[in-house]
Each structure stands twice: as structure tokens, then as C-alpha cells.
Symmetry: C2
Subunit: 272 residues, 2 copies
Amino acid sequence: MDNRSIGVFDSGLGGLTTVKELKELLPHEDIVYFGDTSRVPYGSRSRDTIIKYAKQDIRFLTGHNVKMIIIACGTVSSVLPEEVAGSFGIPIIRVLNPAAQAACAVNRDGAIGVIGTQATVRSGAYGKAIRSIKPTARVIGKACPLFVPLVENGFLGPDNQVTRLVAEGYLNDIKKENIDTVIMGCTHYPLLYDVISDILGSEITLIDAGRETAHFAAATLKSMGLMNEDTARAGRAEYYVSDRIDDFSEIAARFLGSSIKGDVSTIDIEAY
Amino acid sequence: MDNRSIGVFDSGLGGLTTVKELKELLPHEDIVYFGDTSRVPYGSRSRDTIIKYAKQDIRFLTGHNVKMIIIACGTVSSVLPEEVAGSFGIPIIRVLNPAAQAACAVNRDGAIGVIGTQATVRSGAYGKAIRSIKPTARVIGKACPLFVPLVENGFLGPDNQVTRLVAEGYLNDIKKENIDTVIMGCTHYPLLYDVISDILGSEITLIDAGRETAHFAAATLKSMGLMNEDTARAGRAEYYVSDRIDDFSEIAARFLGSSIKGDVSTIDIEAY
């Protein structure tokens, strides 16, 4: 047993969709969340810059004495080398492998589509992770760079014409490839679930990388005996961001699916 | 006469639309351009963060011994306090005042609309600049946060359905306000000129803040006797960015209206 917090970080607030899943699965665990709102988005940046930013994010969380870190950012999960993630002395879980595993479990004869940021798709990391489990799998990556700004600007809901047009443009491209499984490789995308699943149709299984990762993290804590023993109380959450944002509570609630309970502080991430 | 370069910076590559105008107006001047591609966009960030980033951008350019700096970023132009801009010992020109001046010159009885990023509109800086010239002017600000990602992802051209839908959503709001003039307060927006002017209609005059600023900068250099005396040769340009971007030449050419001629280097802006 280990009563320390779980650290979770993302380039911005999208990772709160993973926190939402964690809270349901592990209601007694404390969570420290960091969203790098002064440097979001990561997905269009270069590999070197993403690695530099990710190291600072991890150092910030290890400074909070967390027992595990979840990289809720699809971009960092795809780009950060294993030896870097392995050098911090605590389990660092990325959204990549749990999502790849879930995709391989449901995948039939068709290809596996991976939608994510430009950096995620360019890295080819999902392809490697999937083929390490299922060597014959065919993987089709498709960058959807407008999905993040659409979500952040509230262009949500199945009836949003703009989001539907953009999504059709991206998804019709990969539908042609005889896919039967699609990984949503970015934590913003679950907010577009209705539109994406509607366009892809019921024959294609959608995998939510953040949700799979929350399940994997819960299983890891249990198997390593690292659960919080104090099950009489509800877990607490602390939120840190690198830029004050005026409408933090409103945007965060959109991702969390409920209103924010817990302190929100702004920190200088460049100092880490 | 002064043969040093003109410094120009923007949060990203949108400021190249201003460089394009400068090259036409001042073909013998050398230009040093900095685009903060590792931290773009600025428009959704807080005032403090924008000021911190802007100071680093200015220090980078003053380190290149420039004779003048043009802030080609609508967000920084709106947010940076005058006393900060005035503390560097060289003229620092922002897109704000030339655009306000041009808008007041063409404005008739209707209101003046200002479209820009969230930070630009929230700052109220255009309203202040306009009313200092024309105290009775009515100013209507409208943040258009999706315009920048649309431009950066190549959703251009008058026939682009997505861009048209988004633009109608933003612009129909301000059309109701009996406007006769609209300032495009962000250097990305000239690439959407066709769509914006089509939706606003021929009765509304569109002001390109970057173009007005290039004219103002040229006039300032002339009036201060700071022109480059070597008129036998074409001006050179150096380009600096804070993140390597794979398709720099292609994206830059979109803004410049011609292919990039000159060196492109990546620098660490956090060190300034």
C-alpha cells in the first residue's frame, strides 16, 4: 500500500478525460494533475521540443512525490523514448500500450486506424506498439490537427456542422482502407465521440486511449500493491497549470464531466 | 541613413504577411524575422505570459542589432504595455495604432469591428487606440479563435466550406451591429480575406493591420532618416524560429506569397 498521489500530465486540459476515468476506477486515490497550458499544443511541435517539455512536466510531478505518473498526452506518449521515461525511478505509464493492446484484442481482419496529432502520427509509435502485439496488423495513421482547437473552442455535439465537416474530411480518408478498429490517440477526442462514431459507423470499434490507460493504471497499482489503503475517504485532486486561464473551471468541467473540486494553481514550468 | 536590419516578430509565421508588405515597400532593407513556433499560439494565453514571451522575443531581436522592431503579432501589440515597449532604446512599432488610424480614416457613421484573438479582444486595446483618434467611435470586438488553426492547417480559399461556416458564425454576430469598417487584427487573417470580405459584403471596408503597419514603418524610417542607403542591392532576410518545423518552407511561402529566400535557423527562445 502506498498513500501517495498519482501524477497525471497533459499538454493542456484534454488529459482531464483520463482523470475522469481514474476517479471512477480509483475513488480513494489522490491525484496531482498538471496541464501545460502556456505551451499547449504539443502535437504540432518537433520531437526535440516535445521531449524537452515532457521532461519538465515529469520533474514537476516527481517533485510532488507521486507514486506513479500517467502521461495522458498522446503526443508525449508517442514521442518520449523509453529510456527517458524509465529514468525517473517510478512507474511512468503512457496511453500508447494500453490502447494498442485493446485495439489488438478487438481487431478482426481489417486494418487498425490511429487518429491523433501530427507528432503522434509522424512518430509511428502506435504502429510499433501494435505490431509488437500483433505482427500481421495493418495500421493506418491519420493526423487530425483541427480536432484539438475545435474541442477547445466548444465546437462539440453531434449536430455541430463545422466539426462534422472537418471530421468527415479526416475520417472518410481512412474509412477507404477497410479498417475495423480506430484508436482515438489524443485525450481531446473522446469529446468528439458521437461525431466520430457516427461517421465511422457501427462496424468500426472505437478505442479511447485515455480510458484504456486508466484501467491499465488501476491494474498496475493493484498488482504492485500500491493502492491507497485509506478507503474511508474520497480521493482529493490538485490541479496545476502553467498559464492562468480565465475560463479554467468551465473548460475543465467539459473534460471532467463534472465541476472541478480541488485547488487550481499556476506554476512556472520553464523553471523545472 | 542606417544600414542595420529591421526586426520583425510574431508568435508564429503569420507575421510573414507583414514581411511580404515590407519587402514590397522597402526592397533594399534587410529583415530579421523571428517566429515563436515552439510557443505559438499567444492569443489564448494570459496577459502575464504574453508579456514574458514578448520581452524574450524583443531581446532576441535587439541582440541582432536591429534599428527598429515591428511587432507583427496582433496579440502582443494589444497586450504589451507602452512603458515596456519604450524601454529598449529603438523604435518598436505595433500593428495597433496604424490599423486604428486607417480604420478611423475610412469609418463613416457605423461602428468599427475588430476581429482578433481572444487576448486581443479581451485587452480592449483597439478600442482605446480608436477612441484616442475618434472619441465618438463605437467599437465592437469579436474573438475568432478558430481562424488561426484553420489558416495554419490550410483551410483556405473562398470555397472552403468549413472556413466559410466558421467565419459566418463569427461575422454574422458583428454584422448585426451596423458596422462599416472591420480591422483584421491578426496577421493570419489576410489569408482569409476572400471569405471574410465575401461574408461582410462590399459595404464594409476591411483594414489589414499588418499592411497598414508596414506603410507606417516605411514612413517612420523615412522621416527619421533611417533608410538603408545601399539602394543598388536587394534587401536580404534571415528567418529564425524557436522550433524546427518540417514543412516550414511550404507554410512560410503561403504567408509570404513567394518562396522563402534566406537562411532559416532554430533558436532556444527561453534562453533570452
